[in-house]
Amino acid sequence: MIVAQNLIKSYGAAKVLHGVSLTVAAGERIVLCGPSGSGKSTFVRCLNGLEERQGGTVEIAGHCLSADCANVLALAGDVGMVFQQFNLFPHLTVLDNLTLAMRRVRRTPHRAAEEEAMAMLARMQLTEKAASYPRQLSGGQQQRVAIARALCMKPKVMLFDEPTSALDPEMVKEVLDVMTDLSCQGLTMIVVTHEMGFARSVADRIIFMDRGTILEEADPETFFRHPSHARTKEFLRQIGTQY
């Protein structure tokens, strides 16, 4: 489903990704973690063509992404993305947020799109928020709308970039619940997160990045019990067990 080979990315002189490779099978659930600035976001954004790259190949959901992302629109919603800052369209109601791309990209008729969107909102337990504007929702609700918006396009792959880190502690749970739910349905997912509880219970594989490279890659059991790198251990100590 995803084959990334030897990705290289730099901002001017600063190299951010030093040849990152990753293969993800259909239905696999990957959790990506690592210290701040290690390049997690950049990597994920390269995967769905939001970031040009200086080298390497990306094949995702059946599309080959060119290095300058010229053909990013060919993905046409096949790769869903959920951002840390939600990035809902503030001038549209929740329902319109969901239907916009369905109608403009998938050419779903207005009526059908709204029905589908309402079904999706029901699944997210947001039915009564359909006519609200994003600003009128709590953070957790906003993030659930963002997930719903991506899912409406029936993506083959979902990418999540720290979807819970802008949320209040109590709202984290409602979003993690939705994501756990998705993972049970066999969607291919890459999730950047520091929620180690989630990683442990959901991930097929955990990937640890540091300074633009993949340092460690293992199933959750191995990752938490026997991390091989000192940097990973240090990271786990700081994240997991602060006191």
Binding site: G49, L50, D68, C69, A70, V72, L73
Partner: protein, 245 residues
Amino acid sequence: MSYEILLQSIPIVYAGLKLTLIVTLAGFVLGQALALPLGLALTARSPLLRWPVATHTFLLRGSPLLVQLFILYYGLAQFDAVRASAIWPIIREPVNCAIIAIGLNSAAYVAVIIAGGLKRLPPGQAEACISLGLSRFSRMRDVLLPQVYRAILPSIGNELILVLKASSLASAVTVMEMSGAARAFTAKTYAPFEVFIVAGLLYLAIGFLFGIAFRFVERRIPGVAAIGKSGRAAQPRPQALGASS
């Protein structure tokens, strides 16, 4: 278009340059000086302070500067009481009237900018001051105003250019600055184009110099990137809409 007239009009416009600069710079400085108290009054809690100033700035921003200039220059002079008073020696001189009218007008605009800047500062700044026990005066002088001025510096630079352009109205009260000189020249020779082009270029050149000066000042002042951003500086990303499509 004739080159002979073009050359002829250069010294004419140049003769107005000094007056343009005097009116611009003095008007600007007067405006800035008055803007601060007005701006503070606009954000004052007491409506007794706020309302008169709000009305004043509204009237000055809502009517054409030319009319204000006429009222100050010709209107006030009609009253014997004014001519007998202490301000007469000042507003007797056309240059002073132009400077005062432009300064008052600019002050109204800048006051609103300052008030806006104060309101846009994150409330946490004032709260931090209170919890440290800083007096109101010190809060303004040491913490809030430096940030406001840093944030509105580009607007103030803009204001200088606007005042430069407004100075072209001074000729309505016999102050023959550049554009007035240009119009007088046109009236004398009936050749309208050349002299306006020369004047235009000079205005552009002065505005350009002012712009450079302000950018220089801006770069010399450290600190505050943008109002309201505390914590981690926002990561710069490429343009709002990617150029890839």
